[in-house]
Amino acid sequence: MNRDRRQLVLMLAPYLAGLALLVLLPATATMTMAFTHTDLIATSEFIGLDNFAELARDPAVHAAVGNSLSYLAYSVPLRLVLAVGLALLLHRRTRGAGTARAAVLLPGAVPELAYGLMWLWLLNPLQGPVNQLLLLGGENGRTMFGTLPPQWLTDPEDARAGIVLMSLFTIGETFVIVLTARLALPPEAYEIAELEGARAGQVLRRVTLPLLAPVLAVLVLRDTVASLQASFIPALVVTNGGPPPYATTYLSLVIYQEAFEYLRYGYAAAVAALTLILTVMAVLIQWRLLRRWAYHGLAGMGTHRLWG
């Protein structure tokens, strides 16, 4: 047993080393700075919980927490549903499926600045294709739903919706992971469902989703985590944190600004700590909800520990 156990540990070692060296250690270093006044240039003094006291009063942080949480609430479910839907649509060999898969992945590969620019065009309030489309069915400058077209870049609500919309096009990662998980599901399970005359919805609910449950659970958690630190570059290009004062200021943007523009590293670390706490809380809540559901399924048929 020893030889195998040693090898297993070796197999895990690079990752653990990376994790410790590149994430855990740096993260700890930063987090300790949350209790200091650090400006990266000269001083660094311990100030206890002052940073936290300040961020409790900081309107930017308030707004960012609200924005990040609302982004999480909308984007996580929407992204997941869309990614799963697309993965299930495209997992089979049909004409055009390959192209479509590549198409879904591609937005994630477009450089962020260009991607932001593209959305700036798309969401252009006057001439943007998105609004042009919305105006198609309507008349008198109203959309097909009879509402005024959204002001993606100037109205706070619409701007946040715009950011969520943007996020829906970068689901490549979730999509690919669901797709590969779906490909690994046993065809026999589907034959059984087919024989029983299960409708598409029932197959989804009773076979596919439960079998994918562990993967989906992980993806939900990951997306939650990611959405609380959503890459701010496209958002920055498109809305620059506004419309004012803080309509699309997310936590990640606050951290970056405080740390590297205002050189308030200690304070940024406190915001990062806050983000971390929020994320861990969100993840724990979700995990409680997901755990029972995700226990079986793909993992259910899993192997037992062998060399343990």
């Binding site: 855990l24 004409r95 879904v104 450089p111 690994a184 590293y265």
Partner: protein
């Protein structure tokens, strides 16, 4: 060769239409970038480029390659990807495999740590990592850009591998144990080949992440000679608005290798064992 699918014809047709619609929805916005890049640089900026370009020219591409020093940047990016992506997949799959075999407590801990690692905002890591690489005298080399391969580029990927390896029937593991395979051999001969779709998918994702990594090079790279594509692109993005086509051309050029990798990888998704891709 396409084996007879089980779905009856109308089903398949509907799926084909769906695929076409998805392609259109996801690709047409990107067309804007393409047509934007085909405009003549130096003209007044437009509100948005037309979907169908009025005049087509590649002047922007020439200028981009020249001013952005894209060839050298691409070479640097290639080096990073060529070393980083395989290394990252190796780390991820080895770790994912080990997790299926180690005691449950270890697994749970490592997965929790991975989740925690994903939780840490990237900006919070920037400075300590800089200090770390600086201490190791590795700034201004490509090493810090390859280093994230050690955490599998994203701590999500070992977990995904873990789930994939877990889904392999226990029998297959038993077989390998009977044949006295070491965990390493089991990983290489039995487990890894069975999760090829996962490897292909994660290869594409890892490549995209590595290829478009901009925060790390921004901090670690000083010398223009080691700039990677995202940095070169960032420089071009700072150009005046009338030179936007140049930036877009560079963006398109930057995207092309990723497109290639995605295309190849997605081809591999299909290549699973079994009628529907399942083992």
């Amino acid at each position: 060769m396409t084996p007879p699918g089980r779905a009856p014809a109308p089903h398949r047709r509907r799926r084909a239409y769906g695929a076409a619609a998805v392609t259109v929805i996801f690709l047409s916005p990107l067309l804007l970038l393409l047509t934007g890049s085909l405009r003549e640089p130096g003209q007044p900026p437009v509100i948005a480029p037309p979907l169908i370009p009025d005049s087509v020219g590649t002047a922007a591409y020439d200028q981009a390659i020249h001013e952005g020093d894209l060839v050298r940047a691409a070479a640097n990016s290639m080096i990073v990807a060529a070393v980083g992506v395989p290394l990252s997949l190796l780390v991820a799959s080895l770790a994912g495999f080990a997790l299926t075999q180690l005691p449950r407590r270890v697994t749970a801990t490592v997965i929790a740590l991975s989740m925690l690692a994903m939780t840490v905002p990237a900006t919070a890591l920037l400075l300590p990592r800089f200090v770390l690489f600086r201490t190791l005298h590795l700034t201004d080399t490509l090493v810090p850009l390859i280093a994230p391969a050690l955490i599998a580029t994203s701590p999500l990927y070992p977990v995904i591998y873990y789930l994939a390896f877990r889904a392999i029937p226990a029998d297959s593991y038993d077989l390998c144990r009977l044949a006295d395979l070491t965990p390493m051999q089991t990983w290489r001969r039995m487990a890894l080949p069975q999760v090829r779709p996962v490897t292909a998918g994660l290869a594409a994702l890892t490549f995209v992440l590595t290829w478009s990594n901009v925060l790390d090079p921004m901090v670690y790279l000083y010398d223009r000679a080691v700039f990677t594509l995202p940095l070169a692109l960032r420089a071009l993005a700072a150009m005046d608005p009338h030179n936007q086509p140049v930036f877009l051309a560079a963006a398109v050029l930057t995207t092309l290798p990723a497109l290639l990798v995605i295309g190849v990888a997605q081809h591999r998704f299909l290549h699973a064992y079994g009628p529907e891709g399942a083992p």
